[in-house]
Symmetry: C2
Subunit: 344 residues, 2 copies
DNA sequence: TTGTAGGCGTTATCAT
DNA sequence: ATGATAACGCCTACAA
């Protein structure tokens, strides 16, 4: 007896289709073992009743939730973009995305995240940097048998649980660009040393410089914190030297903006006197004057790949996930903030 | 018979505490009708077993999900911030946040969102602008008996379902600021007319000007689209006139950046020749040179208030939700992009 | 290929 | 105050 005021259940469908719940269940779950005629009949009734299976009941019975977690630290545009890409894939696959913000620095990070996974009964989680770099967290998730995909910048652990950003090509391109413009005194502003992605950008840049036989002396280096202010501080240090760099590569856009501001205040013209390069491709990098040469991350591609990989891992296991790509490459985009090195 | 390899269930707790499931359930749900001694006993066992109730079973039995939806359109920093604030409140309350991106312009918006709510079995949703301005959507949600809170800029419908941003105080402050600096020829760049928040900013600004006996003639107005490019186009139109404005108020920061860029290219100095004001308080507004005077939204306060209101609505009904504040006020922050009107 | 019966972990009803 | 028992809506043996 179906109450018209409530959502139809699998029973209503079964009754109306003149079959059993079991068969309806088979249709829903795309079991091949069902007569084409009955399948059509069931589908029609589903359509007519506008029936959607109750995910709670489904989850309870099958010990699945059809819920994916997204774990990150600070709210940034990067997060928002990845989230967007994840949603696209999940929409089609019939999953929902549950978000969770946490603190990498926290002593309770692992407890916090594992509790979240248990509480929400997640089928799997996607972990964004810098949380993704915590090996202990990955271990704990493994231990509790929770599928996950890490977005990171360093290959570590099984590749089918990761999407790794390969900085090499883009940073090589960028370095070639600067060198071909005549720059030799190139300075670097790093992110915090605790960030793996930050260390990685540094290492790769050193390597790229070495390819051209260029060194990075101590006075051409400054440690930042991925913030605008830290970029300002670093730039002041670098630019106030007697022999100052003709180009500065900042490990993210925000710090690069800090550099531009300082240069501006010191009367150093960009790109005439100083070339500046950022990293991330934030929207503002196109707005700032002059527009910032930077390295653009392909967030959409990353999110897409990572989510599909995670779903494959959940639904078909590691072998299926292994079939997906592991590396993604950002791309260098030269704009107005880089130009020929000053001849003087 | 508790299998040590699996999560403990309510049965395990009941057995160990020497009581029935029903009593354990009462303890979990804070029913007052339970002996203090037994309550303590049960709580101890729960602690000992590290038991957490299964939210799927709970939801199935109580037809609740303990899931809240967050509905928005484009991924922005504003979204990420609101999301963060929502998570804080939900964490404590034992709810999770499921996100959903959609397209305001889509013909299937309503169908899309309602399907999402049904699919995920949400207990309630928070709706961000511009989606929050679609009355038909609110109606549909009402019809399907789904609780929601709208974040918007216009009071419409029941106040306990809304958190409204009151632009008046901040825009008044800003206008007073400009006028006291001697500006009379103030131009305005609006957002798209389809956005309620955009229209609202316009109306309030007009009113603020009128308080000073100032009009906004047609040649001092331009319609933008909340994008950088549209700011550029609008600025070119406004600044290429023979009698150009001495100040421009753009309805968001991005368009203000466009204005600054155009001014820069035309050799118009900011703030000496032209004052510029934005709206939103994006991080970049502090980085740009000169830093942008703008109106800052208090996202954290908004998110906090809205989420608490939604939870009250869900758990205790409209009366409880009615006890919460409805209005929030952004705040004008003068910075370097505004200065005395040029005397010439 | 299809149906029957039992269970997933809670909450709700109604006794006691 | 407490407890047996029946939902909740679906899935999974197992049987037919």
């Amino acid at each position: 007896m179906s109450d018209p005021g409530k959502q139809p259940t699998i029973n209503d469908v079964a009754d109306l289709a003149g079959t059993s719940k079991r068969t309806v269940s088979r249709v829903i779950n795309r079991s091949p073992k069902v007569n084409e005629a009955t399948r059509m009949r069931v589908l029609e009734v589903i359509e007519k009743l506008n029936y959607t299976p109750n995910r709670q009941a489904r989850g309870l019975a099958a010990s699945r939730s059809y819920l994916l977690g997204l774990i990150y630290d600070l709210p940034t545009l990067f997060i928002a973009d990845i989230q967007k890409g994840m949603l696209n894939v999940c929409e089609e696959a019939g999953y929902e995305v549950v978000v969770h913000a946490c603190h990498v620095e926290s002593d309770h990070l692992i407890e916090d995240v594992t509790r979240f996974v248990k509480r929400a009964h997640l089928d799997g989680v996607a972990i964004l940097p810098p949380v993704s770099d915590i090996e202990e967290l990955a271990d704990s998730l493994d231990k509790m048998d929770c599928r996950y995909v890490r977005f990171s910048s360093k290959l570590g652990g099984e590749p089918w649980k990761q999407v790794v950003t390969d900085y090499m090509p883009a940073i090589m391109d960028m370095t070639n660009h600067l060198v071909s413009l005549g720059h030799r005194d190139i300075a670097f502003i790093s992110g915090p040393e605790s960030h793996v992605s930050s260390r990685k950008r540094y290492e790769v840049f050193i390597q790229a410089l070495n390819n051209h036989g260029i060194e990075l002396p101590g006075n051409m280096m400054a440690t930042g914190a991925f913030t605008y202010e830290s970029g300002v501080t670093a730039a002041k240090k670098l630019l106030s030297q007697k022999s100052r760099p003709t180009a500065i590569f900042a490990a993210n856009d925000e710090m690069a903006f800090g550099v531009m501001n300082v240069a501006n205040q010191m009367g150093i013209r960009i790109p005439d006197d100083l070339s500046v390069v950022g990293f991330d491709g934030t929207p503002f990098s196109t707005f700032v004057i002059p527009s910032l040469s930077t390295i653009i991350r392909q967030t959409d591609e990353m999110a897409n790949l990572g989510t599909k990989k995670l779903l494959a891992l959940i639904e078909e296991g590691p072998d299926a996930a292994h079939g997906f790509e592991t590396m993604v490459s950002p791309r260098f985009v030269p704009r107005e903030s880089t130009g020929p090195a000053p001849s003087g």
